[in-house]
């Protein structure tokens, strides 16, 4: 979230799309309801199904799963065509006025620079025109045909309300109402928030779907303001903390890019790569990433201590580098090919949660060993005795390590609003169960001892790593010591730092994760604070409640909340103010040294302004464009590309592509409030099984009638990848949609079920495809093809 949960109450318009927040983030509705009750806020829910969130909406708009981009681009077009943009904000704080290389082109779904063989783009022609000082050329009247705004106008004019209806199935009148209400926030004193989740991201165009939100919120001038922003509702407790800590294939702690073996062979090469540290000549740009050298070197210093010096690139060579990007999908492809020999699962259950779950279970058979750290047996740890296999023929040795649950251990949990909240251990873990920290500590100590004794191919990174997380006299590691290292300290004095602004690139500071600097200082554990003081204008900032990254800044991009003269766009819900010499309010983005007249507000890119057009950073184009899901029942009406042209298609999936002739219904997957993710946490709890006891799907009364299915019947749902059993919930909340003249039905499924718990059922992910987004490769769980029939 750029903003935070409480801040939802400050919105005038709330757009929930690609999320069923009432179901999956129930507490968020406390603030949604407050906004409705106290501000008369309008809640819009756009969703293929009429959900629990929609039940409380002022306006519900249906759309076909996988057509979000057409809908969002339609809103962008509506805003531009009707001149409903926050002009001053757009001119000052976005790149709308920047002139783009005249060679940039867009033709029939392809941007210039496309390499069809490699399914990738060269972004050379997407760059800005620069003046003799190397600063992008601008036309602040937004009239130059090469300026971003004009390019956008042309690009999006194809997304007419009529076309949006044809592609999404959302009636034109309803779509226009959504656009009108949302765009009413282009006025400076009206603000919209966008709440989204996996319904937005789990598509082959997932990243660009989120980009579309950025474009909309920039055009409306809603970024940085209280009640605004783009708010990703994270799907799991502390998943925010895990990404902050670098638990993604393409990132290391603090959102620094993972170093690549070829491109970043030396520390210097890494730091000189403009994809790591942008280069800018613009004096208006803060370009915060220029500090990444300090952050990386401080991280290496925290990891390797005395062994990291300016003589050995601060041990940069011991930092793992990738030679091939291995996101989730590729990981299991490699497992299937036998490249991976062993796997560690900590709190993960891919055989229920991963795409093409049957394929994952099969891939696991290729492993020599699998360590499953969990509270219970899961499908992934008992895959060797699943239906249809002979355990004797599976060689994989499985080790189960019992884990402590969240209430049986101490530590921080970061929520979607970036608040790191310290939790205490409430009860002792049962039996031999241990916390993750304990398990990792024991493992690392053992590894170090083994490398010391036996040597190995490259023992240095293990032998030299500093590993002292146990207080004197104790034998269990302390989460406080880990938190202190994450926070950072002056290397010699060990004094805890309070801001990353003091970090150095000379090895004199150490810090595990720069964005957490300030979370645990000499004043104590800031994450354990429980201060209840609100901001003076009572907008729910609560700056003394725990701690939030970065630097306890409650709303990021908050520099954009004021005009160039420092006065807030909206005086009523101001988050920061600049009085000509000093900042007041929230911790200002980019440091307090400069006023808004001297520096641009978007500090994390080279320009310092919001990128309506992205010259770099995206694999699949500088502007958003609609492409169909990999499996789709319709042709792409916006261009002759079917699939996102930059999405990686693994060779292994070619045979799995289902066609609409055999599998005519759009399948989609989602969660219910009663169950948790892959279900191991909830399918063992009788009270929750009472509420949702079985795997079920949701279908419309019309599809049910066509297939002779009645509510409560057992059905089979199947495609090229799997064939699952479920109960059918026949509901008016699901309706067929008229897409390009044809009625289209969908089959919605929950994905919580699997074997290995008290309540069992088939996993919906046996049906989901092994293809993902062009940038992140997050799997396309939300739109695929299936057929359904009543179980004989």
């Amino acid at each position: 979230m750029t903003n935070h949960w409480i801040d939802i109450k400050n919105a005038d318009v709330i757009l929930i799309m690609g999320s069923n927040a009432a179901e999956n983030h129930p507490i968020s509705f406390k603030w949604v309801i407050k906004a409705k009750e106290e501000r008369n806020a309008k809640l819009i829910v756009v969703d293929p199904r009429f959900t629990k969130s929609a039940a409380l909406a002022d306006l519900y708009a249906p759309l076909r799963p996988g057509s979000d981009m057409a809908f969002l681009n339609g809103i962008i077009n509506y805003a531009i065509q009707n001149d409903k943009i926050q002009k001053e904000y757009v001119v000052e704080y976005s790149n709308a006025s920047y002139l783009v290389n005249p060679q940039y082109a867009f033709n029939d779904g392809l941007f210039s620079g496309y390499d069809a063989g490699g399914r990738k783009y060269d972004n050379k022609t997407w760059q800005y025109q620069v003046d003799d000082k190397g600063i992008p050329r601008q036309d602040k009247t937004l009239k130059d045909p090469q300026c971003v705004y004009q390019l956008m106008k042309k690009h999006y004019e194809r997304y007419t309300p009529e076309k949006v209806e044809l592609v999404t199935g959302c009636p034109k009148e309803t779509f226009l109402k959504v656009a009108e209400i949302f765009c009413s926030t282009h006025k400076p004193n009206r603000v919209a928030t966008i709440m989204y989740a996996m319904g937005t991201t789990q598509h082959t165009v997932g990243t660009q779907n989120v980009r579309a939100y950025s474009l909309m919120q920039t055009l409306m001038g809603n970024m940085g303001l209280a009640g605004g922003g783009i708010n990703a509702l994270r799907g799991e407790s502390n998943v925010q903390g895990s990404t902050d800590a670098g638990l993604l294939f393409h990132l290391i702690p603090g959102y620094l890019p993972s170093p690549n073996a070829k491109k970043h062979a030396t520390l210097e090469a890494y730091l000189k790569d403009p994809a790591v540290i942008p280069v800018t000549n613009d004096p208006m740009s803060i370009n915060w990433k220029k500090n990444f050298n300090k952050y990386l070197i401080s991280m290496l210093k925290a990891w390797y201590g005395d062994a990291a010096t300016d003589k050995n690139e601060f041990a940069y060579q011991w930092l793992p580098k990738y030679s091939k990007a291995t996101p989730y999908i590729v990981l299991f492809d490699e497992m299937d090919k036998g490249v991976l020999k062993g796997a560690f699962y900590m709190g993960t259950n891919p055989v229920v949660g991963g795409p093409d779950a049957n394929g994952i279970a099969k891939a696991q058979e290729k492993l020599d060993w699998l360590v499953a750290v969990d509270l219970w047996e899961t499908d992934s740890s008992i895959f060797w005795k699943r239906e249809g296999v002979n355990p004797k023929q599976i060689k994989t040795e499985v080790f189960m390590l019992p884990a402590a649950s969240s209430v049986e251990k101490e530590g921080s949990v970061s929520n979607s609003g970036r608040w790191a909240q310290w939790r205490y251990k409430a009860v002792k873990a049962p039996g031999a169960a241990k916390s993750d920290l304990d398990i990792l500590d024991l493992l690392m100590k053992e590894l170090k001892a083994m490398y010391k004794k036996e040597g190995g191919k490259l023992p240095e990174p293990i032998l030299n790593v500093v590993w002292n997380y146990t207080e004197a006299g104790e034998h269990e590691p302390s989460p406080h010591l880990v938190a202190k290292e994450i926070n950072g300290y002056e290397y010699k004095s060990k004094k805890l730092m309070s801001t990353f602004m003091d970090m150095k690139e000379d090895g004199s500071t150490a810090c595990g994760d720069w964005i957490y600097c300030g979370s645990y200082t000499e004043e104590g554990n800031m994450m354990a604070r429980r201060g209840l003081k609100d901001a003076p204008n009572k907008i729910g900032t609560f700056p003394e409640w725990t701690w939030c990254w970065p630097l306890n800044r409650r709303i990021i991009y908050n520099r954009a909340a004021v005009k160039r003269d420092g006065t807030p766009w909206d005086e009523d819900r101001w988050i920061i103010k600049w009085n000509g010499s000093k900042w007041k309010g929230d911790v200002v983005d980019g440091g307090p040294a400069f006023g808004p007249d001297k520096k641009n507000p978007y500090i994390m890119n080279g320009e310092g302004v919001s990128r309506l057009f992205a010259p770099s950073g995206l694999a699949d184009g500088p502007l958003t464009e609609h492409y169909e899901p990999w499996e789709t029942p319709v042709a792409n009406l916006f261009n002759s590309q079917a699939l996102n042209p930059a999405t990686v298609k693994l060779d292994s999936i070619a045979a799995e592509l289902g066609d609409a002739g055999r599998y005519p219904y759009v399948g989609t997957s989602y969660r219910v409030v009663e169950h948790w993710q892959a279900g191991a946490m909830t399918r063992n709890l009788p009270w929750l099984n009472e509420l949702v006891p079985d795997m079920f799907c949701e279908i419309s009364p019309s599809l049910a009638a066509a297939k002779g299915i009645r509510n409560g019947d057992k059905v089979r749902i199947f495609n090229t990848r799997g064939n699952i059993r479920a109960y059918a919930l026949v509901t008016e909340r699901v309706q067929p949609l008229k897409v390009n003249g044809r009625m289209l039905e969908m089959v919605g499924m929950i994905w919580h079920f699997g074997q290995g718990c008290a309540s069992t059922g088939d996993s919906c992910n046996q049906l989901t495809p092994n293809i993902g987004d062009a940038n992140t490769m997050i799997p396309e769980y939300k739109a695929f093809l299936v057929d359904i029939k009543k179980e004989a």
Binding site: A22, E23, P26, I27, F29, K30, I33, E37, F50, K52, S53, A54, A55, L56, A57, D58, L59, Y60, A61, P171, T174, K177, V672, V673, E674, P686, W687, L688, N689, E690, L691, V692, P693, D694, F696, G712, Y727, L729, T731, E732, R733, Q735
Partner: protein, 273 residues
């Protein structure tokens, strides 16, 4: 302390069912043996039972306006009537009022089912199975009647269901304030739901659970302006039972039989007249 009441605001309910689960947890109640969904949409179980003191009813959706379909999701538990039928028909005086809440004393209950029969909301239920291993304070014993006691048995400041509600759809406050809040809220939601109504002001001389509905109460199967049971009839049953139970020698099963016989006789008389 002045008497309190619950306010159920269905215009704020998102159907998370935290109320249902927290009640089970706080009262240490076993789970129902469920298959699929017992009632419309996600409703489970279909109705209240002896081991489910509150639950969430998901009504079928009304799609008259496809841009704003109405889907009512309603928390349901004992309404704690001002003049409760159950209390008036109980032959053993096992049901009483405590701080305004209607409470069953299972020590006195003989499981005759009088309360179950006479509650038009189908709230109290006699437990047919022996589940005593679950009960702590509750003592979940066979042939005893159970229902919501507003957490007066396992006392807590805010009843578990209201405590768990994340959206403010279920709250508890002083009765007079609840009535005022309900009126104010009704005025506010009328613009979105022109047929919105308040249920519980008149029924049984006033309920301690006031519900704000998106439509008329009849739409949700809630009878309006119902009066308490005819006291003459209730007394006639009790009088008859007083005589019949003398032959029970204190055996609960014979007491139950005595009640059933008494009720049958009196009901027949009343129907004939």
């Amino acid at each position: 302390m002045s008497e309190r009441a619950f306010l159920v605001d269905t215009t704020k309910c998102s159907g998370c069912r935290a109320c249902q689960v927290s009640c089970k947890q706080w009262n240490n109640l076993p789970a129902e043996n469920a298959e699929f969904f017992g009632g419309p949409e996600y409703t489970n179980p279909r109705e209240l039972t002896a081991i489910t003191f509150n639950h969430v009813k998901f009504f079928p959706i009304d799609r008259a306006n496809p841009e704003k379909p109405i889907w009512t999701i309603m928390h349901k538990k004992c309404y704690h009537c001002e003049i409760p039928n159950c209390l008036n028909v109980c032959p053993e005086k096992a049901i009483s009022k405590k701080d305004g809440w209607v409470v069953i004393n299972q020590e006195k209950c003989i499981g005759c089912g009088a309360c179950e029969n006479e509650c038009i909301y189908k709230v109290p239920h006699v437990l047919e199975k022996d589940l005593s291993e679950y009960g702590t304070e509750q003592r979940l014993m066979r042939y005893k009647s159970f229902k919501c006691h507003a957490c007066t048995v396992n006392a807590r400041e805010v009843p578990a269901c209201a405590f768990a509600c994340p959206t403010g759809a279920l709250t508890i406050d002083v009765e007079q304030k609840v009535l005022k809040k309900a009126d104010a809220r009704l005025a506010q939601v009328k613009k979105d739901y022109p047929n919105a109504s308040i249920y519980g002001k008149e029924e049984f001389e006033g309920l301690k659970v006031i519900t704000i509905l998106k439509d008329k109460p009849e739409k949700y199967g809630l009878p309006v302006n119902v009066k308490p049971i005819d006291m003459v009839r209730a007394e006639a049953i009790r009088d008859m039972y007083r005589v019949a139970s003398m032959f029970s020698m204190g055996f609960p099963s014979l007491k139950r039989a005595a009640y059933r016989i008494s009720r049958r006789i009196v009901t027949k008389d009343f129907n004939m007249s």
